[in-house]
């Protein structure tokens, strides 16, 4: 099993450009998450999904959109990139049974630079 995969690994954008980050998981997890990680700060939740076709806002959703059309995929979109969105983005997944599986499985990350 590949676990959680993310594409691309690196990307450089100019201000105002758009892009989509793709996350895929092969563990049949219901829950998926997008985080950003900035130096000196903890991982911050951008958006999350509790199942196919559902999405919800996290702590820092502004400037991002998401879609979960298939259970195994969770897409993060930046419609008009800003330098403040320069960060490392991590996708994660987990199963919904609280007492059985609490851990989150993370992907390798996407390093995004917005010039």
């Amino acid at each position: 099993n590949a676990g959680v995969t993310q594409t691309p690994k690196f990307r450089v954008l100019k201000t105002g450009q758009s892009m989509t980050l793709l996350c895929a998981q092969d563990m049949n997890h219901e829950y998926m998450y997008w985080y950003r990680q900035d130096p000196g700060m903890g991982l911050r939740l951008i958006h999350y999904s509790v199942g196919e076709g559902t999405t919800a806002k996290g702590e820092v959703p502004d400037g991002y959109n998401v879609s979960r059309l298939k259970k195994q995929n969770f897409l993060l979109g930046l419609e008009s990139a800003a330098p403040s969105q320069t960060s490392v983005y991590f996708c994660a997944s987990s199963c919904p049974q609280r007492e059985l599986c609490n851990e989150q499985f993370f992907g390798p990350g996407t390093r995004l630079t917005v010039l």
Binding site: G42, L43, V50, P96, Q104, F105, G109
Partner: protein, 115 residues
């Protein structure tokens, strides 16, 4: 406001010694607390979970304590090895059905184990 604090300074320790990391939180009543390991350029990897009604949890050379009165968790690496060098993150799962899976992460503490 809610806050999770981990030592921002790197912990430098000699091989064979015990490394002790601290995670303090305010204005949370977490159902449980998790610890993750993160290596440079990689996503976090789950290590241990401790619930609010548990005082201590062990896994191989790792030990976690949880004091809900002090609002603190301690993470110990005994008989440390250079391979333990990484950044360690604590994460809280707040109470409540709507908060499930929405972990709050600390910024992490870097551990450097020298031979």
């Amino acid at each position: 406001s809610q806050k999770i604090e981990q030592n921002s300074e790197a912990l430098n320790i000699q091989e064979g010694k015990t490394a002790t990391l601290t995670c303090n939180y305010t204005n949370y009543s977490p159902a449980y607390l998790q610890w993750y390991r993160q290596d440079p350029g990689r996503g976090p990897v789950f290590l241990l979970l401790i619930r609010e009604n548990e005082k201590e949890k062990r896994k191989e050379r790792l030990k976690v304590t949880f004091d809900t009165t002090l609002k603190q968790s301690l993470f110990h690496i005994t008989a440390s090895q250079p391979a333990d060098s990484a950044t360690y993150l604590c994460a809280l799962d707040p109470h409540g059905p709507d908060s499930w899976g929405k972990l709050q992460f600390g910024a992490g503490t870097q551990v450097v184990v020298t031979p």
